[in-house]
Amino acid sequence: MLEFLESITGVPTPLLFGQLLLGLINGAFYAMLSLGLAVIFGLLNIINFTHGAQFMMGAFVAWMLLNWLGLGYWWALLLAPLIVGATGVIIERTMISRLYKLDHLYGLLLTFGIGLMIEGVFRNEFGSSGLPYRIPAELQGAWDLGFMFMPIYRGWVVLFALICCLATWLVIEKTRLGAYLRAATENAALVQAFGVNVPRMITLTYGAGVALAALAGVLAAPIYSVNPQMGTNLIIVVFAVVVIGGMGSILGSVLTGFGLGIIEGLTKVYWPEASATVIFVIMAIVLLTRPAGLFGRA
């Protein structure tokens, strides 16, 4: 079987397995980021273009906690989402909340502008080369899987991302709070009439979506260069993931995130030059055949 695989793909099987696994790891980041976007779009109808900057802020806050306050990775995992989520709450209260009655486009432009400004401030303050952040001592080292060396930290990223995705899905689909949220999306006035504070709920939802982005940023800090443009590079891909999965579909964005990570990983073996483009080709095909996305409701 393995020989057969090798003969048709022209790539040694161990290498292929390794690439599938690496694709899965990248997929974990796509899933985490698209999850936050899907939550925000599904419940607020805002296309949050600040998401990349908020991912970057998560990584920078982790660096600041370590270098300014001496708080390590595990503290950052807890505190960075709270801090960045709080900034999200402020942004929602002071600016985004004024746009709900207007077309989607205004929210998109506003969040895009805020994202550019946040990036600009960080660039002026910290430069563009990036800052060092080390893998926590507990997660250093690697497992020898036979076909490749698997860094323990990457395994942790996949596991943690899966838990986050599952928890978010459970909260929204299976709890009373989630039911309120979904109901408020359908008919805010009616839910408010039942005594639920809808504006506050929406604010906190935005904060939670932003916190998810920051959490992904903390996860990324030890393996990617912590620099102001780190979010920009990812966010466009993540938007494609959300569109392919179906705007607002939480399960869709998670599954698509992992799936596209794997497809991208395989492209890196067979046609590396196209690895940055493949996701957009898929997006074009999906939009032509299923305009609402793979898991979206038309």
Binding site: P14, L22, R123, S128, Y224, S225, K268, V269
Partner: protein
Amino acid sequence: MTQASRRSVLAAGAALGIAPLSRARAQANTIRIGVLNDGSGMYRDISGPTAAACVRQAVADFGPRGFAVEVLYADHQNRPDVGSNIARQWIDTQGVDAILDVTTSSVALAVNDICREKNKVHINSTAATSDLTGARCTPNTVHWTYDTWMLARSTGGAMVRAGGDSWFFITADYAFGHALERDTGNFVRQAGGRVLGQVRTPFPGTTDFSSFLVQAQASRAKVIGLANAGTDTTNCIKQAAEFGITRRGVKLASLLMFINDVHSLGLQTAQGLVCTETFYWDLNEGTRRFTDRVRSAMSPNMPAMTHAGCYAGVLHYLKAVQDMGVAAAKASGADAVARMKGMPTEDDCFGRGSIRADGRKIHPSYLFEVKTPAESRGPWDYYKLLQTTPTEEAFRPVAEGGCPLVRS
């Protein structure tokens, strides 16, 4: 209307009539320098506003010599189309005489053609492709700081001598990466080594290199050549450490690494890597003097060799302008560059040197090793000098570049 106010109206009218004349005279006596580089992307720290600050420092150090100098700055976003548009606009509508820095080889080659077409001066510091003084050389171009051939010879040569005779390249998929891979590959083959393969990574926009690193490792090459720069390089080094690639005896050749990249990686990760630069702030009296002068204008950044190149390039250009006269310098960029080639260079950053017929500025190159955390005495104390390649040997021999200017 009173007498007085009628007179003032007349005076104002006269002034309006004269203003364009005096402005034209001021224009004729002003050299305009446009600094064009990456102001918002991954190469910002090695070029960016810091390069503009160094150019302004050069203007200040040159002092008032009977003509005015204006410095403009723009961000080309690493895109050849944006860079070309800005260059054309500067030259056509704003009277720019010289374009400086031009990070990113793909943009630099585009701007190179425009400066030739419009007969302006192009002093390049940060783009690396050796084609600027090879097949694509022009009489309007000076390539100041470094190039892919020189990097390949110094870092690549050192790796081969240390026993790294089989290579696999991780190459940024654009003009610079291709040139660096080609030039280094040639050195490896000449020294009897083999190139086992390469992978071309999309630029910009690649963050995860683990897949490419695993492919490189699977080739069983002794050396993984990083034919990329900026955050591409730092991401590669960070992730190679994570995947334990360097622990198992494979060497990483960071063919183009700047001090700002070392700062970004931290000494813990970067220690032991070798890289080649033509300027280091703590190299000698002159470099320390220069750094002291510019440091306050660029904090928290530190001058890289590319910034030093911008400084020295402008200083030399202004000397040439003074020597030949502003009118002649503005009339023909090619004449200004010819005058620059005819004069010996001298500055705090690179010492004494000269510019060859093909536009290549020549000076020594230095092979550095990154210090361990214990060896470093403080912030930015990162390098120890391993080897100096003398001026005559550091750059590609003028006859081998294929520059049409030399043949004729």
